[in-house]
Symmetry: C2
Amino acid sequence: MKIIVDAFGGDNAPDEILKGCRMAKDALGMDILLTGAESAIRSAAARLSLDIADMEILDCPDVLTMEDDPMSVRREKKNSSLAVCCMALRDGKGDAFVSAGNSGAVVVGATLFVKRLKGVLRVCFAPVLPKSTGFFLLADSGANNECTPQMLAQFGLMGSVYVEKVMGVKSPRVGLLNVGAEEHKGGPLQQAAFRLLSEDQRIRFVGNVEARDVPDDAAEVIVTDGFTGNVFIKTYEGVALVLMDKIKGIFKKNLKNQLAAAMVLGDMKQFKKDFDYNSYGGAPILGCSKPVFKVHGSAKAGTMFSALSLTAKYVSAGIIDEIAEAVGKGEGE
Amino acid sequence: MKIIVDAFGGDNAPDEILKGCRMAKDALGMDILLTGAESAIRSAAARLSLDIADMEILDCPDVLTMEDDPMSVRREKKNSSLAVCCMALRDGKGDAFVSAGNSGAVVVGATLFVKRLKGVLRVCFAPVLPKSTGFFLLADSGANNECTPQMLAQFGLMGSVYVEKVMGVKSPRVGLLNVGAEEHKGGPLQQAAFRLLSEDQRIRFVGNVEARDVPDDAAEVIVTDGFTGNVFIKTYEGVALVLMDKIKGIFKKNLKNQLAAAMVLGDMKQFKKDFDYNSYGGAPILGCSKPVFKVHGSAKAGTMFSALSLTAKYVSAGIIDEIAEAVGKGEGE
């Protein structure tokens, strides 16, 4: 198995990307093809005393930044590490690609170069996030502002296959994010999606789910349109950050509180780890003809390692074939 | 000033409602007209040793529950404490009404009986929530699943007037909840609402606001459609609950942690209070011809007191006239 890695994606590229690749290759043994300016990659590796002699490099001069227009991946930034990464996957130079770069550009690149599976209406961005116990997958979290009921039904199906085969949850619960539990809740989009999801015998649909129950333990797959999903995930992140920050402030306030903090340090660290946004590595782009995985922009080596390990499972679990078949069947073929 | 209070709205009615009314009448001196079964009100007051001799009662037999269809307020539950509350305000028997009952039914009752102000396209549900410092008002948080850009522009204007006149923030910042900060972000609804809000010289529009920045300090008025707003508020609530619960678990885990908890108890209590969903009492229904205030369903006496105090300001600040004039002007009259 060979995974193509965008060496210049994310806030900590290339150093943390290279370190994560080294960890993954040592632990999991997959081949790695890096894209980016070869000289910069080699000098970073030398500086970090990282041996990358067993990784290939596809030399390309440009970097597509977080500020670039996502569409630039096929125009002015078509020689960027991200665009070259996409094209390398398209051309069969590897089995999957991983990038911590510009999310919008990863989605555009995945759609335009790697292409959607036949029958898939839209690819979706499906991050895995912690909940009170375990995790859930959110599909879509922002690739598609406007969705049809059919798209939502596909997100549910693809998310279910991914969570079962890659994340190892047998028969995961699929819920539709809505403003109430009853079938008639929400607008026409949610009402029609509810019907389609209910009728799909291949998934375990548990009905509408209210946002307040998602962080607790409502379902393993949460289906929503990309606009709502994006607001959901950013609210989730924002509230957690503000609350954690307030607690940090309390623990630093005075000597007495600092002492108390020292006493619960281990448990607080574990709690922070359990609720770490980064702990699940990032988001698969579901619906592509080949596995594409978007790592958090802030990823460090450990997160890159998790992402590469999930991507390896994504490849070996054969879920692309399964999704292709499921979506095909879904269309009555 | 006379405030009409639904004595049978909410999880803790009538006891906590009556206690809150007593507190408000003692501290603020407004007249209070209670709606509900008089015998039940009088026996609850006797049991609680509460003197309610200086409050009027509009006797009505029914209760509209949290499970009832909101539309039942004008049909099978038109003799409920909530419906009678709405009709009493319509008929000029008081200056405002307050209920901790079924939110949907409060909105329906406010719209059908109290009516919208001329020129107001839709009333909106506008809870006030804590952020890292101070608070923000969210309009709409669930009265309208589907909105037009014009409705969103009105929510911004009405929210701004309320926050300035009732909550006392001079020239509050108004932000549009969106998936990115740039003007072109979001779908057609957000793009058109952005233009309308930008052009409105009566408000201080600060542009698009991402959900992750709202709990920090993005703006004092957050404008959104009711579907997104409802997902936002419930995510906010859910994440806060799960995190607080986890921290509670840590502090109870063993003797050492319990000791640590005792050392930061005062600060944690203050923090919990600062972030208490209930601390701002609830939500005004903006756009009605008379002040309507929805209290949290879980309200206890203290929250009822806050709600009655805010409602008194809502009445005396004359913002209904101001909104009427503003919305009228907005239409070019």
